[in-house]
């Protein structure tokens, strides 16, 4: 129970810091901008981890969900919600973006019932390209020229709040019955089906939640840049998220945070190298994969990201004591 208090106080302190940094201008705007990108990247990576890491599928179209979220949220703030008080409607717009993305996630989850592995990868890839192609053909949202008119509503505290919500919900989901179902699908789908796991329901929920948070990240991204066009959400963006995910490690929320942080920071540091930035980055990735094929933090987790019940269980298993039933289920 002690750890709960520590986490609560830590989260509050983090929020205070995120509020104070822009308010008192402790860091220069460039660093603040990088921090906001970092938060968005963490949301993206953690949400992709749900499908790719915990459920073991290979989704390569995460930017497609992000695009849906970005466009829906931007349309809501620019065309639907009233001009005055737009800051108060902002969370609603982001939620709307997330829900729009979740709706498309539902559509993508249908082919995942039959197509698996590399074929599912193609489904998600095709989905990403279809989203981009549809957006390019929709003149209402500017077509290939893009969509603008959003105010810069994404601020550091908001990014922080959404990161916390994402990690909190994902953590609770991963250690719930559904999360165990996802891990079972990753290990062996047929066996898990035979054992009575409702694989379709588990898959739908994984895609829904993953797409929802990708949409949230898209909404935040759109209101940070104040301009979006379909080309921002192409397959290269999806690749970027995949790299952050596998850099950090699969099936680990802590790994997602580490991967997103390292990738974002390294990319900013390498910015000075100009054109060679994108040459050095993949080299780093290749070396990392050669020496640590599971990523930096693969299949490990920070103890503060594990519910204390599970933590207790793991400790007891490690010391080879018999696990008391009450605490395991309590």
């Amino acid at each position: 129970m002690n750890m709960r208090w520590t986490i609560g106080v830590g989260l509050l302190a983090g929020f205070g810091l995120c509020w104070a940094i822009p308010h008192y201008e402790w860091l220069d705007p460039y660093v603040q901008l990088v921090l906001m990108y970092l938060g968005i990247n963490i949301i993206l990576t953690a949400s992709l981890n749900l499908v790719n890491g915990y459920m073991g599928e290979f989704s390569v179209g995460h930017a497609g969900f992000m695009a849906v979220g970005a466009y829906v949220a931007s349309i809501l703030t620019v065309l639907v919600f009233p001009e005055e008080g737009s800051a108060y409607y902002f969370p609603l717009a982001i939620m709307g973006g997330g829900l729009g993305a979740a709706a498309t996630g539902l559509i993508v989850s249908i082919p995942s019932f039959r197509a698996r592995g590399d074929y599912l990868a193609i489904v998600t890839l095709a989905f990403n390209m279809i989203v981009k192609s549809v957006l390019e053909n929709l003149e209402v949202v500017g077509g290939p020229r893009g969509f603008m008119g959003m105010e810069q509503l994404t601020t550091l505290p908001w990014v922080y709040v959404w990161v916390v919500i994402t990690i909190w919900i994902l953590r609770n989901l991963v250690y719930s019955k559904y999360g165990r179902g996802m891990a079972a699908i990753r290990e062996d789908e047929i066996v898990c089906d035979l054992c009575g796991v409702h694989t379709r329901r588990v898959k739908i929920s994984a895609f829904l939640v993953s797409a929802f948070f990708a949409g949230v990240a898209g909404g935040l991204y759109a209101h940070l840049l104040q301009f979006i066009n379909p080309r921002m959400f192409d397959i290269l963006k999806s690749t970027e998220v995949l790299i952050m995910l596998y850099l950090g490690g699969m099936a680990s929320l802590g790994g997602s945070m580490i991967g997103a942080t390292i990738y974002t920071v390294v990319m900013e540091v390498l910015r000075a190298q100009g054109g060679f930035r994108m040459v050095l980055m993949p080299l780093l990735l290749i070396f990392l994969m050669l020496f640590r094929p599971r990523g930096i933090f693969g299949l490990k987790e920070f103890s503060w990201l594990i519910p204390w019940r599970d933590l207790l269980l793991m400790r007891q298993l490690r010391t080879r004591k018999e696990v008391p039933r009450a605490s395991a289920e309590g």
Binding site: A115, D118, A126, M129, I130, L194, I235, P282, L285, I286
Partner: protein
């Protein structure tokens, strides 16, 4: 009718290039069960190599093509040995991510040296034969003829030679085949070499047909070829060829009837429907899973 014939010819030309690249994907997948995402960028390197040889050395078509194919075969083997071989027993996804990394590396290395789109010089004089309103260029004949003959040669290698037998055996079971005395590493390297050489041929032909080349050209064409391989059933060599022609047919067909911006939408939509109906592609067989 004439319009239809003309478009069919265009589809055959594009389809043979897609098929050549798709073969590279499908061969590596058939053996290692790994998607070599760097393959589209090998295609790009092949095109640039052909451009460099033709522009700076002034070589004609045949030596350019051969040199590009040989150089790319070597590059393919080097990439396989350095980046993929150490990961053969690692989780499957690490190899795929490494391949993505290799692809991005090749693209941006090329971009760092050569940031501008380049114009491919003419490698050979082009004749255009006209029959009434129907016209056919010698370039189209060359592209389709050369691609088809390369595919026939490949099919012969895989189906009739000892090397092909070893490749098929490895794709059947990579754990048992080494016990029978098959040099697995050499066969895998040969597979990569052949795939990359076909990619280089595709790159050379593509840059002759659509003569503006840039470092990102491999991304879109590569993904399309990959989709072609999946349509045919990835791992199946004849399927890759079939998928390449089908995808090109759909793309050209859509572009002929609707605005070109709908091309990707329709072709990927068809792909999605196909995968829902036949999750293992047209010619692919579902792998039996044992518990």
């Amino acid at each position: 009718m004439i319009y239809f014939l003309q478009q069919t010819l265009n589809a055959l030309q594009l389809g043979s290039i897609y098929a050549l690249i798709a073969l590279g994907y499908t061969m590596v997948y058939g053996i290692l069960l790994m998607i070599n995402f760097a393959h589209g960028d090998l295609f790009m390197v092949g095109a640039f190599l052909a451009f460099a040889l033709a522009t700076f050395l002034g070589w004609s078509f045949v030596p350019t093509l051969l040199a590009a194919m040989i150089a790319l075969a070597v590059l393919g083997v080097v990439i396989e040995r350095l980046a993929y071989k150490p990961l053969r027993h690692a989780p499957k996804m690490s190899a795929v991510i490494t391949a993505l990394g290799v692809g991005i590396f090749l693209e941006h290395l090329m971009l760092a040296f050569n940031p501008y789109p380049r114009h491919m010089p003419e490698l050979m004089p082009v004749h255009i034969w006209t029959f009434g309103q129907f016209s056919i260029s010698s370039l189209q004949v060359l592209i389709i003829g050369l691609s088809v003959s390369l595919m026939v040669v490949l099919d012969w290698v895989v189906m009739k030679t000892k090397l092909g037998l070893a490749m098929r055996a490895i794709s059947w079971n990579i754990k048992i085949v080494p016990l029978m005395g098959v040099p697995v590493n050499r066969v895998i390297s040969a597979t990569f070499a052949m795939g990359a050489a076909l990619g280089a041929a595709a790159g050379t032909l593509y840059s002759m047909a659509y003569p503006v080349i840039d470092p990102y050209m491999g991304v879109m064409v590569g993904w399309k070829a990959f989709i072609a391989a999946v349509i045919g059933g990835i791992g199946n060599i004849r399927g890759a060829v079939l998928g390449g022609f089908i995808l090109a047919g759909v793309e050209i067909g859509v572009a002929a009837v609707l605005p070109t911006t709908f091309r990707d939408f329709i072709s990927f939509g068809l792909l999605l429907i196909l995968l829902v109906v036949r999750p293992h592609g047209l010619l692919g067989k579902p792998r039996v899973e044992k518990i």
